[in-house]
């Protein structure tokens, strides 16, 4: 019974990992080689407006005479950078706070979690808009920071609860008896056991960051000079692409965002499945 179920699961985990990796690699390649891939320069408005997709313009042109495909390619870089950088910032803070709060009992844990619970009652989107409207500029750095610094709360909670349960296990006590310091127990003993949960969280915060960037750009909070999938969507919406049946302007940025996040989710899910499988296997033996 068990074998029957785990075998395809391992295979599906592998397939998911590979699929996700392929998707992300493609996006990474695109964002590294924007200039080579995009047929026209960024924000170049020299073409006729509202052109349908053709060989010259794979995804047509928009109301300003910009090549939508080129914009999409430039947008990839923004979304990729925001996703990865903001995701990393979030993860680092989330892990630090989560592990610390989970490892130390009593007041450290209570204080940290109180802060987390407190911050959780602020609507994050609203806070981001507030920060964005008061920051001197809303360039890429600000967006990354605003998203990265405000998204770690749930992650900290989940890491903490996992740390709590790891802490109960025998190996922590053993390490302590062996005279290891708190720091090295946290880093060498507990952290490796948290990898899957960290990975799962990393994936979800990265996805969240990409979507948050799109949302902020859509609300007109981002830097309008910056091309991102969110700004393309915002413009398509504002310029009534629908009246021209210009699906090539509305659908691709949404799909690109979805596909990109999908890639992350596949990797997260695939690796979780593999981890569970391995762990299950090792426990059985």
């Amino acid at each position: 019974m068990r074998n029957k179920r785990t075998l395809p699961r391992e295979r599906s985990g592998k397939a998911k990992l590979w699929g996700g990796a392929c998707i992300l690699l493609i996006f990474a390649a695109v964002s590294l080689a924007t200039a080579q891939i995009a047929p026209y320069p960024k924000n170049d408005m020299e073409f006729e407006v509202w052109l349908k997709p053709s060989a010259a313009h794979l995804l047509g042109t928009d109301s300003y005479g910009q090549d939508v495909f080129s914009q999409l390619v430039y947008g990839t870089r923004t979304s990729f950078l925001v996703g990865v950088l903001a995701g990393l910032i979030t993860t680092i803070i989330g892990v630090l706070v989560g592990v610390t709060a989970g490892f130390y009992r009593r007041w450290v844990s209570d204080a940290l979690m109180f802060v987390v619970d407190l911050l959780l009652i602020i609507p994050v989107m609203a806070l981001m808009i507030i920060l964005a409207s008061f920051l001197p500029s809303m360039g890429l750095t600000s967006i990354v920071l605003v998203i990265g610094l405000l998204s770690w709360l749930y992650m900290a909670r989940s890491i903490r609860s996992q740390t709590l349960s790891e802490r109960q296990r025998g190996y922590v006590e053993a390490a302590r008896v062996a005279g290891m310091s708190d720091l090295s127990i946290m880093l060498r003993e507990i952290l490796p056991n948290l990898y899957p949960i960290i990975l799962a969280n990393l994936v979800s915060v990265t996805t969240h960051a990409v979507l948050a960037e799109a949302g902020l750009s859509f609300l007109g909070i981002g830097d309008p000079k910056n091309v991102s999938w969110g700004t393309i969507l915002a413009l398509a919406h504002a310029n009534n692409a629908i009246m021209y049946d210009a699906w090539w302007w509305i659908v691709p940025p949404g799909l690109a965002t979805a596909l990109f996040c999908f890639g992350f989710i596949l990797i997260g899910n695939g690796s979780l499945e593999r981890f569970r499988h391995k762990r299950g296997a090792s426990q059985q033996t």
């Binding site: 924000n43 509202w50 409207s133 007109g220 000079k225 413009l235 919406h237 504002a238 009246m243 021209y244």
Partner: protein, 559 residues
């Protein structure tokens, strides 16, 4: 076996959920059909002025919640100003299409005394307040006295030094405006003041009165307001005869794309000017949809804070002017439906008084090289960021543009991109339209991309640049000189022109415009007066005035 049972339950719950939604959808669909036709909403009991079936005309505009705070025409904030055109009247109406005055509560063009220091207006005897009270000279006197008593309300400084001395009733049906000095622009200024009923306003403080049920003399009577619309009904006793429509609904939108889609769908029949420009060609594919264009009094510009370090240098402002490609902006940003702005600021609305030569003058055409050259000559040097710098002042500025207006933001991106080519750095910030006005007035900005809507008078339009219209940064400007621009020469010319003969004025205005173009207190972009309207269900628009103005909508009738 048990699984099947679960599924039965699941299905049942699903069905219940679906049923929760279905009646909503089903009922609403029935509801939707009649409301499409526009007229069904009006109660059947209401009779049209013509005695036929009720006819509801729907106008769309962006009306933010904070613009429904008061209906006091004295106030510049907290209300939706275009509404007053339908409810109230001034003595005159300035017609931006023809650039002329149309008597409203005045019955004629008015008469000047020999010395030009007194102007007498005979009042419209047919006008009546919506509540049935008679309209008298006292209402006019009260309105202008209120401006005198509350300087904050006197937006255009009518009671300034060389202007109004007194406003007196002459019998029941005439009013005399006495002046300190000759002030030929007075009638134009009079068109900026809506006359309010003394019997309602005198009991209140006009600076704080919210006037929740406005009573005017206009063609339409205020009925109600909610989150979706402002509803006005036809004034059967209107002095020019009752409007042919029964009801005027101003449907509220949050942004121009939504409004434009509604226009395309035929849910609304017109707008007072708001339109998502990229949709225009598609909209006009329907031959019933029309776009009336006129130069207009709203001048879109990059408003420059002349008090800020760097921007107080005329060379820098000049570079900004030279960096901007106005033709490209109008063509790509406004789909060609705007008029390229004159660097001398005056809108084409003012006809012969406008210095047309400035438009063609090569000195004011886009020229990136020349801008760079000027800056370099003035001792600016590019720093490592590629931004010009002199004496520790870096030419980096914040650039405000309207939030939630992606088309404006796109234009902002184009402009700031051009600015970066002349070594001027910008960081774009967003604010709502009301806030843009507020920060412009307070001076807490470097650059703002917004429109300056000038009074319907060339003197007043140019007096935007008079030093008496400004205030130090941190204080609200008394007039539209948000730029904090001060120039003794321009002040002198303006003061001279305010009481000069028509011929002299024309000459002075040319000089002023040339100087404005040269010292660039503001980088003019374009003017955009437009009124989209649909003839699918309605006809009889008067296009000698804006097609969706009160005068035109009084004549409009259902097909």
């Amino acid at each position: 076996m048990w699984r099947k049972q679960i599924w039965k339950k699941t299905l049942a719950v699903g069905a219940v959920l679906t049923m929760m939604l279905t009646p909503l959808i089903a009922c609403s669909n029935n509801q939707a059909q009649p409301s499409e036709k526009g007229s069904a909403g009006a109660p059947a009991s209401e009779t049209s002025a013509a005695g036929g079936t009720p006819v509801s005309y729907r106008l769309g505009d962006i009306v933010n919640p904070e613009q429904t705070n008061n209906f006091n025409p004295f106030l510049k904030t907290g209300n939706y100003a275009p509404l007053f055109d339908y409810i109230y009247n001034g003595l005159y109406y300035f017609n931006p299409v023809k650039g002329e005055l149309v008597p409203r509560l005045a019955s004629n063009a008015g008469t000047w005394s020999e010395d030009g220091k007194s102007f007498t207006v005979k009042l419209n005897a047919n006008a009546k307040w919506h509540d049935g009270e008679a309209f008298t000279a006292d209402d006019v006197v009260y309105t202008f006295q209120a401006l005198k008593e509350h300087a904050a309300l006197d937006y255009y400084r009518l009671w300034g030094d060389a202007r109004l001395k007194d406003v007196k009733a002459v019998g029941e049906d005439a009013v005399t405006f006495e002046l300190n000095a000759s002030f030929p622009s007075l009638p134009n200024y009079l068109s900026t003041v809506y006359i309010v009923p003394e019997h309602l306003f005198s009991k209140e403080d006009p600076t704080t009165f919210l006037n929740k049920t406005p009573i005017g003399t206009g063609a339409f009577i205020f009925q109600s307001i909610n989150e979706s619309a402002i509803i006005l009904k036809a004034n059967a006793d209107f002095f020019e005869g009752a409007p042919k429509i029964t009801e005027l609904v101003i449907q509220r939108f949050k942004d121009s794309p939504g409004l434009t889609l509604s226009l395309q769908k035929g849910e609304i029949q017109g707008s007072t000017g708001t339109l998502a420009m990229p949709s225009l060609p598609k909209l006009l594919e329907n031959p019933d949809n029309k776009l009336q264009r006129y130069p207009g009094l709203g001048i879109f510009a990059v408003i420059i804070n002349n008090d800020k370090p760097g921007l107080n240098d005329p060379v820098v402002r000049k570079a900004i002017q030279l960096a901007i490609d106005k033709n490209e902006l109008v063509e790509k940003g406004e789909m060609g439906a705007a008029t390229v702005g004159n660097p001398g600021f005056l809108s084409q609305s003012f006809g012969d008084l406008v210095d047309q030569s400035l438009l063609e003058n090569p000195d004011y055409q886009v020229n990136v090289d020349k801008a760079n050259e000027l800056l370099a000559q003035a001792g600016y040097a590019k720093n490592s960021k590629g931004v010009y710098e002199k004496d520790g002042v870096e030419l980096s500025f914040t650039y405000y543009t309207a939030a939630n207006a992606p088309a404006q933001n796109k234009e902002a991106a184009m402009i700031t991109d051009w600015l970066s080519k002349v070594g001027i750095g910008t960081t774009i910030k967003m604010a709502t339209w009301p806030e843009l006005t507020s920060i412009a007035a307070s001076g807490d900005y470097d650059l703002i991309q917004n429109s300056i809507t000038v009074p319907p008078d060339p003197q007043a339009a140019l007096e935007v640049f008079h030093s008496k219209m400004t205030a130090p940064v941190g204080q609200n400007t008394p007039g539209l000189n948000w730029m904090r621009f001060r120039d003794d020469q321009i002040d002198a010319w303006l003061d001279q022109a305010s009481s000069a003969s028509e011929e002299e004025r024309a000459g002075l205005y040319k000089q002023i415009q040339d100087r404005i173009a040269e010292v660039v207190p503001v980088a003019v972009l374009y003017t955009s007066g437009k009124a989209p309207y649909s003839e699918t269900k309605f006809t009889g628009y008067d296009t000698n005035v804006p097609a969706t103005s009160s005068i035109s909508l009084t004549k409009v009738q259902a097909k």
